[in-house]
């Protein structure tokens, strides 16, 4: 992103905030991956390695009463919404202190109080749900916005198209992100769609779209802020495609040998943390010593969270039977 644009649009405080969350997300997911490799985390392990900028960029401009309907590579957004690293690790470890109390795992984190709609594995299912949350805001005339995200793969599902169309028709206050990381599990883009850009799909719904450098956290932040405020003002939905690269497998069990090494090498040097550091230095916002401080702070926070999560209790077997139905007092007027 052009440094002159950053100077006018992103304050030093905001940029350092973005950088801190890049570091926190990277440190947390690196730690979770290590726990997975040690066999202490079972099941799936989905990270945003190399793509952290996307959800950090979209979540930071949101206000506290806004809502996100994320997908499985949005760890940074969880952290910004106030889900703690400890809660994330507790969720991965199946602990009772995790946001789903062991009922669900890994990145299937939801908490209405913090404006996070839980993700389900069926990709793009959260997009119609996001339109419904936005519809509620529109019906009540509330100046609130929903941001939702999906991968390139999810944009092939009908729910993506149904949600995009409905949002555009009703001019709903929702912003659609697409983390285009070039692979849907093992299937490359050219086997997923015949269009050049995912953003081309938005045209079919009469929805404005932008293509962003998915590794430039400041660029995403600025575009997200613009789209969010437009939606808040009644200007309707926007589609933002973030082009990036999935640097790990689909899940950590997957060595992703189907991805050419040259492609990974090409994207390794475009890492969002390196990119942010170069820009922060160029702008005179921070130097190496600041980066090291922030990284150390992030790691310390993660370790405290891991310790808390590990000490947390597991649920008891019979808790399986709890919570199938909601009770009246949970939905009081």
């Amino acid at each position: 992103m052009d440094p002159s644009v950053i100077v006018s649009d992103v304050t030093r405080t905001d940029y350092l905030h973005l950088y801190y969350y890049l570091r926190l997300t990277r440190a947390l997911e690196t730690r979770i991956t290590a726990l997975y490799r040690q066999g202490r985390i079972v099941g799936g392990c989905y990270t945003s390695h190399g793509m952290e900028a996307v959800s950090i960029g979209y979540a930071l401009p949101l206000e506290s009463r806004d809502v996100i309907a994320p997908y499985h590579r949005d760890m940074g957004a969880f952290l910004i919404r106030g889900i703690t690293p400890g809660e994330v690790v507790a969720q991965y470890l199946g602990k009772r202190t995790g946001p789903t109390k062991g009922k669900d795992g890994n990145v299937h984190i939801g908490d209405l109080k913090r404006g996070v709609i839980g993700f389900v594995s069926h990709l793009a299912d959260n997009l119609p749900v996001a339109t419904g949350a936005a519809l509620a805001f529109q019906i009540r005339g509330e100046p609130r916005v929903v941001v939702t995200n999906t991968g390139d793969g999810g944009t092939s599902r009908g729910d993506f198209h149904e949600a995009m169309n409905f949002a555009a028709v009703r001019k709903l206050p929702v912003v659609f992100f697409c983390n285009n990381n070039q692979y849907a599990y093992s299937t490359p883009l050219r086997r997923q769609m015949a269009v050049q850009n995912v953003a081309d799909r938005a045209k079919a719904y009469g929805m404005p779209a932008e293509i962003l450098d998915g590794n430039d956290v400041a660029a995403i932040y600025v575009a997200a802020r613009r789209a969010i405020e437009k939606a808040r003002a009644g200007g309707g939905p926007t589609f933002l495609e973030c082009k990036t690269m999935r640097m790990h497998g689909h899940s950590e069990h997957d060595p992703a040998k189907y991805v050419p090494q040259a492609l990974l090498d090409e994207w390794k040097i475009k890492d969002p943390i390196l990119k942010a550091e170069a820009m922060l230095k160029a702008l005179g916002y921070a130097d190496e010593a600041d980066f090291q401080d922030i990284e150390a702070r992030a790691k310390k926070e993660i370790e405290a969270g891991v310790e808390w999560a590990e000490q947390s209790p597991l649920p008891e077997g019979p808790e399986t039977l709890e919570g199938v139905f909601a009770t009246e007092d949970e939905v009081a007027l």
């Binding site: 789903t100 749900v129 409905f166 199938v324």
Partner: protein, 333 residues
């Protein structure tokens, strides 16, 4: 609450009008309630249940959508999570298959997974006898009977149609409301002038009898009652239980009846294999084995799609004669 203790309106209303009244009264009573579906606004719905609602409540509470059942249900889920009370109209219950994923994966599991209630109603006009053919006659309740987290109701009278719909709208969980198209304009009743509900989870003994219990719901309740009238001449005294709610099943009322009659027929319009009748038969084998004096019989549609041509559809649908035949067979034990 029963009809008798309340003054009734002077005019009798059809089953269809009872549904309309419930929607109208709940929308007036609770501004969180809104309607969403295909052609429900200006057109008033395929069956005219919401005729006049658009003028009365406006297009923020009577929302015509694009033709996209999954998107509609997803949107209702999102709005419900934000505190509204959506009532979805499936134009025909058959089309609910397009929304199966949102219903079973998102709505049904939401509270269990992360404690977020989904107070939503899906009205599903179901059933045959209207020359609808394979795509406008289905009884899809069996699919959802097997999805923990949903409540299912299926009224057979105008009184229950109104009272169960009000209860469904006030319930904090996703409820699928199966309204039988054959009954829409064929049955009438005077309803209480005052607000009432029919509680979810309560079956009703529609006809007390001593020889055989017929457990049924929906339009088949009327078939069972007609069969009972015929069999009474031959001293076969059927007890007819209208389940009214399929989930949560009122097992106590069923067991109590079987303990009295010792014989059971389960009657449903849905196809036979793997249906609700199979589950009830299994429950009776588990819980009432000692008091059974004969095999538990099922009278249900054959395992075919619902055929179109009149003689085929007549053959397909369970008839009074089928219940009579099963009852005579069982009476011989």
């Amino acid at each position: 609450m029963t009809t008798a203790v309340h003054p009734t309106t002077s005019q009798e209303v059809t089953y269809l009008e009872a549904i309309s009244q419930a929607l109208d009264e709940e929308m007036t009573r609770d501004e969180r309630v809104f309607l969403i579906g295909e052609d429900i606004g200006a057109y008033g719905g395929a069956f005219k249940i919401t005729e006049g609602f658009l003028d009365k409540y406006g297009d923020h509470r009577v929302i015509d959508t694009p033709l996209a059942e999954s998107g509609i249900v997803g949107a209702a889920i999102g709005a419900a999570m934000m505190g509204l009370r959506p009532v979805v109209e499936m134009q025909f219950a058959d089309f609910i298959s397009c929304a199966f994923d949102q219903i079973t994966e998102v709505a049904a599991k939401n509270h269990y997974r992360w404690n977020a209630p989904v107070p939503m109603v899906i009205r599903a006009p179901f059933g045959g006898g209207i020359h609808g053919g394979p795509f406008h006659s289905e009884c899809p309740e069996g699919w959802f009977f097997h999805s923990p987290g949903l409540k299912l109701v299926a009224p057979s009278t105008p009184y229950d149609a109104k009272g169960l719909l009000k209860a469904a709208i006030r319930d904090p969980n996703p409820v699928i409301y199966f309204e039988h198209k054959f009954l829409y304009r064929r049955i009438k009743a005077a309803l209480p002038a005052k607000d009432y509900i029919v509680p979810i989870g309560k079956a009703e003994v529609k006809r007390a009898g001593s020889t055989i219990s017929v457990v049924t719901y929906g339009a088949m309740v009327h078939i069972a009652l007609d069969a009972a009238a015929r069999l009474a001449q031959d001293d076969i005294d059927l007890e007819v239980i209208d389940l009214r709610t399929l989930i949560p099943l009122d097992t106590e009322t069923i067991y109590e009846s079987i303990r009295k009659t010792s014989k059971a027929i389960i009657l449903h319009e849905d196809t036979k294999t793997g249906g609700i009748g199979a589950e009830i038969a299994a429950l009776l084998a588990e819980e009432c084995f000692d008091c059974l004096d004969g095999p538990v019989l099922r009278v249900a549609a054959p395992d075919t799609p619902v055929p179109f041509s009149t003689p085929l559809e007549e053959f397909f649908l369970p008839k009074i004669g089928d219940v009579e035949e099963a009852a005579r067979k069982l009476a011989a034990y």
